[in-house]
């Protein structure tokens, strides 16, 4: 296996020595000198610091922009209201308390366009009159005729207010399926 003794191996290695005494190519040496001069004068360091500072500033701007776009957690009292509408407390699904009743009635007066379009004014009037003036009862369910609002803030700060139709009844009348896809929703009053 080891046919080469130590001297033969050395001779063999020297015969095939990859380095033949040549110098580094002048162009390469020049290039390295130039880079070393730049590195020694701190130009690279300055560039690194500049790049780091620029990256930090960019990250801060992006972070602030994202934060502003997604809407900071504004207290409900300070939240902007829409079109002259008074600020409302967040609607809840639990029973109403006495303190909340007047506000609930106010809410009922401001109806969304869809409710305004529907010819249900007499019912709504009747509703607001039918609200009992007092009696706090924790177990009392909200009157059926009270319009309830659910409002929440979406990710980008968009306030979404849903007004629930107090007289809504599920449509139990079965209508015929549309004959073509383009007719879908054609009879939809919404």
């Amino acid at each position: 296996m080891n046919d080469l003794d130590r001297n033969s191996l050395q001779a063999r290695l020297r015969a095939g020595d990859p380095y033949q005494g040549e110098d580094m190519p002048a162009a390469h040496a020049r290039r390295i000198r130039t880079r070393l001069r730049a590195a020694g004068s701190g130009r690279f360091e300055r560039r690194t610091w500049l790049a780091a500072a620029a990256a930090a500033a960019l990250a801060a701007v992006i972070g602030l922009g994202t934060w502003a776009a997604s809407g900071p957690a504004v207290p409900r009292e300070q939240a902007p209201t829409t079109a002259g509408e008074p600020a409302e407390p967040e609607a809840r699904s639990g029973p109403l308390t006495t303190a909340e009743l007047p506000r609930a009635r106010e809410t009922a007066r401001v109806a969304p366009p869809s409710v305004r379009r529907a010819p249900r004014l007499p019912v709504a009037t009747e509703v607001s009159l039918a609200v009992p003036p007092v009696v706090a009862d924790a177990d009392r369910e909200p009157p059926r005729s009270e319009a309830r609002r659910i409002q929440f803030t979406a990710r980008r700060g968009t306030r979404i207010v849903w007004t629930l139709d107090p007289d809504f009844e599920p449509n139990t009348i079965r209508t015929e399926a549309p004959t073509a896809p383009r007719q879908q929703g054609a009879n939809d009053p919404w």
């Binding site: 080891n2 020297r14 095939g16 380095y19 390295i32 070393l36 004068s41 701190g42």
Partner: protein, 169 residues
């Protein structure tokens, strides 16, 4: 406090003093696909990045040699991971003209490339640069007994590689 021009001058002085010697070592340590000039450049750029840790005087050469060997070691590991060693072995076995000096160089270069970088450095420094064990140990930051062990293992590997190549012809 070292001034900018002082730093640049020191780096240039280091380059002028050691680049020839490092280039020779890089050519011998380089495996297929490596450019010796790139290795030298990388070594000096690392020196520029860590100039405060470069010792003064003769120790600077030791420091630079170790950086170069470590660079070769990194590249050797990457290459081994990619399975390029097998490709290099095939290259050795397909050499057809042993009389040609270029072929001999290729054979030695390919055989050296099979050794791990530190072992290759030990063999190159001992067999091709005639350094003694103590000097190599000093340069590479090893104990002399480790140098001897690497040398013995390296010679054994090279013998089998070079003889295997001859038999395959």
């Amino acid at each position: 406090m070292e001034t900018e021009s002082g730093r640049a001058d020191r780096l240039e002085a280091l380059f002028e003093a050691h680049h020839g010697r490092l280039y020779a070592l890089a050519v011998r340590m380089a495996v297929a696909g490596d450019d010796a000039s790139d290795l030298v450049q990388e070594t000096f750029l690392r020196a520029a990045g860590a100039r405060r840790s470069i010792p003064a005087g003769d120790a600077a050469e030791r420091w630079l040699v170790r950086v170069l060997v470590n660079l070769c070691r990194d590249r050797y590991r990457r290459r081994r991971y990619r399975g390029q060693r097998r490709a290099e072995l095939r290259l050795v076995n397909t050499t057809r003209s042993p009389e040609d000096a270029v072929s001999a160089r290729d054979a030695v270069r390919s055989a050296l490339a099979q050794l791990p970088a530190r072992r290759r450095a030990v063999v190159v420094l001992r067999e091709l640069e005639d350094r003694d064990t103590a000097d190599i140990a000093n340069l590479l930051g090893m104990r002399p007994v480790t140098v001897r062990w690497h040398l013995s293992q390296g010679r054994q590997q090279l013998r089998s590689l070079l003889c295997g190549e001859e038999r395959s012809r």
